[in-house]
C-alpha cells in the first residue's frame, strides 16, 4: 500500500481554475501529479452524474473548481453550481461516501499558488482515506 498513489479527477472551469492550473505549470510551482484535469466551460456545467461516473470508473477523489462567486464568466453559473454541490456533497456523505473524496474550490486564473496549494490539500485528503472502496464498478472477471 505504501507505493499507492491516488487518481483524482479535477473538473476545472475553462475561464479560471483551468487557467490557474496552466499558470501554476508555467510558473513551475511544485504540485502533485495525481490530478487528471477535465476542462469544462463553467462549474455550472458539471452535472452530478459526472462526479458519480468518475467514482464509478475508479477515481479515488473528485475535485471541482470554478470562479469565485460574482466572477463567473457566464454571470451566475457558479451560483447555481454551488447549490448543486452543497446538496450533492451532503447527500453523498449521508449515504456513506467519505467526505475527503469530494472537493470544491473557487480559484481565479491569477491564483496559481492557490491552485498548487489546494491540489496538495486534495491529494493529502484523498491519501488519508486510501483507495476508493465505494461506488467503484468492479468489472466481472472472465477466465
Amino acid at each position: 500500500m505504501t507505493d499507492w498513489e491516488p487518481k483524482i479527477i479535477a473538473l476545472l472551469c475553462n475561464w479560471c481554475s483551468y487557467g490557474a492550473a496552466d499558470l501554476a505549470g508555467v510558473s513551475r510551482l511544485k504540485q502533485p501529479s495525481n490530478i487528471r484535469i477535465v476542462r469544462v466551460p463553467c462549474s455550472g456545467r458539471v452535472n452530478p452524474k459526472f462526479i458519480l461516473a468518475s467514482l464509478r470508473k475508479g477515481a479515488d477523489g473528485v475535485w471541482v473548481s470554478g470562479c469565485h462567486p460574482g466572477d463567473c464568466h457566464y454571470i451566475e453559473g457558479n451560483y447555481y453550481a454551488r447549490r448543486k454541490f452543497v446538496l450533492l456533497k451532503k447527500f453523498l456523505e449521508y449515504v456513506g461516501i467519505e467526505p475527503e473524496r469530494l472537493h470544491f474550490s473557487w480559484i481565479s486564473s491569477a491564483e496559481a499558488t492557490k491552485f498548487a496549494k489546494v491540489a496538495e490539500e486534495v491529494v493529502e485528503a484523498v491519501k488519508k482515506v486510501g483507495p476508493a472502496r465505494y461506488l467503484v464498478k468492479r468489472e466481472v472477471e472472465v477466465e
Binding site: 461516473a53 451566475e76 447549490r83 446538496l87 449521508y94 461516501i97 490539500e121 468492479r138
Partner: protein
C-alpha cells in the same frame, strides 16, 4: 371517506354536463381489495365509476403532463403540491386544470395490512372502514384493526394534508399534524460512515431495476431518462451493487427541491424498498439550507433554479 365519493361524483357530473372540462381524472374501485385504479372519465354517464376511500394513494398529478385539453383532477394534499411543482416547471398551465381538492387523513399501506393478517395476508377479500376502525375480512377470518397504525409511512409524517391549491373542496379541511418529519434521517446521519454505507447497500440490495419508482413519480417526465442514455452511458444498466446505487442516488438527486413526499415511489416498488430514505434527506437539506418546501408557494422559484449570493458554502475552499 364515503361521503367524499358522493361529492366527487356530484362535482364531476356538473363539470362534464356543463362542458367545463374534457375529462375528470379520479379513482375507481379496484378489482382486488386495497388497490384502487386511476380512471379518466369523459362522459357524465360514467361518473358512477368514481370512488374514494383510503386506498387512493396513487399520485394523479402523474397523468397531467401528458394531458391535452382541459381536465379536472382529484387531488389530495401531496397531489396538489405536485401540481404546483408541475405548474412551476411549465408542464401544465393553471387554466387547463380544475382541481377537486380532497382533505386527506392519510392513505393506508396494504403491505402493513398483509403483515398484520400474517400468513393469510394475501387472502384478504374485503376491507371496510368506519370511525377509525378497519374491518379486514377474508375467507374464514375477520379482524378489527386501528386505522392510524396502518398509514403509509409518508402519510404518518405528513404536514400538508389539505390541498394547497384547489377550485373546489369535497369536504371540510382536516387538522394538520404536528410531527417531526426527519427523525429517521437524523438517526442515519448520526451513524459512522461505514455503517451508513452498509445501511444503504442493504436497503437497495433487492432492487431489480424495474424503474417503477421512476415511472410512478409525477416529476420523472424527462423525454429521455439518464438511465436510458447510452452515449455516453453514465449509469450501468445491471443490478451490480454500484450500478443500482448510482441509479438510486441520481434518481433521488433529480428530485432535490421538487419531491413532495407523496410516497408514490415506495408504493410502486415491487420489492418494498424504502426509497424515500434518499429523497427525504434532500428534502431536509433543502429546507434547512434554503428554507424551501416544494409545492407550497406558487410564486417562488425552485431552489436549484435560483441562488442567493450569500448561500452557505462552508466546505468550498
Amino acid at each position: 371517506m364515503y361521503e367524499y365519493t358522493e361529492k366527487i361524483r356530484e362535482i364531476a357530473t356538473r363539470l362534464l354536463q356543463d362542458k367545463m372540462v374534457d375529462g375528470v381524472i379520479g379513482f375507481r374501485k379496484g378489482t382486488i381489495p386495497m388497490v384502487n385504479n386511476p380512471v379518466l372519465i369523459k362522459h357524465s354517464e360514467q361518473v358512477s365509476q368514481l370512488y374514494w376511500d383510503s386506498w387512493c394513494g396513487v399520485n394523479l398529478a402523474n397523468y397531467l403532463p401528458k394531458f391535452q385539453g382541459k381536465v379536472a383532477v382529484v387531488a389530495k394534499g401531496c397531489d396538489s403540491r405536485s401540481i404546483v411543482v408541475l405548474m412551476m416547471e411549465n408542464q401544465i398551465s393553471r387554466d387547463q386544470l380544475y382541481i377537486i381538492g380532497v382533505p386527506c387523513k392519510g392513505m393506508l399501506d396494504r403491505r402493513k395490512i398483509w403483515d398484520a393478517v400474517g400468513d393469510r395476508g394475501r387472502d384478504v377479500t374485503d376491507v371496510q372502514e368506519r370511525d377509525g376502525v378497519l374491518v379486514v375480512a377474508g375467507r374464514g377470518f375477520s379482524l378489527e384493526l386501528e386505522r392510524d397504525k396502518y398509514l403509509q409511512d409518508n402519510c404518518a409524517i405528513c404536514t400538508h394534508r389539505n390541498p394547497v391549491l384547489y377550485d373546489e373542496l369535497v369536504g371540510e379541511m382536516v387538522p394538520e399534524q404536528q410531527v417531526d418529519r426527519y427523525e429517521d434521517i437524523r438517526a442515519i446521519e448520526s451513524l459512522p460512515s461505514e455503517k451508513r454505507w452498509e445501511y444503504f447497500q442493504r436497503l437497495v440490495e433487492s432492487c431489480i431495476r424495474c424503474y417503477a419508482c421512476r415511472n410512478a413519480c409525477p416529476f420523472c417526465y424527462c423525454p429521455q431518462c439518464f438511465v436510458d442514455e447510452s452515449k455516453p452511458q453514465w449509469v450501468g444498466k445491471t443490478i451490480d451493487p454500484t450500478d443500482t446505487m448510482t441509479f438510486h442516488l441520481l434518481r433521488a438527486f433529480h428530485l432535490a427541491g421538487r419531491c413532495t413526499d407523496c410516497g408514490s415511489c415506495e408504493r410502486a416498488c415491487p420489492m418494498g424498498i424504502k426509497v424515500r430514505m434518499f429523497t427525504k434527506k434532500l428534502e431536509k437539506d433543502v429546507k434547512e439550507l434554503y428554507g424551501y418546501e416544494a409545492g407550497v408557494q406558487l410564486g417562488e422559484r425552485p431552489p436549484l433554479d435560483t441562488y442567493r449570493p450569500d448561500d452557505p458554502q462552508e466546505f468550498i475552499k
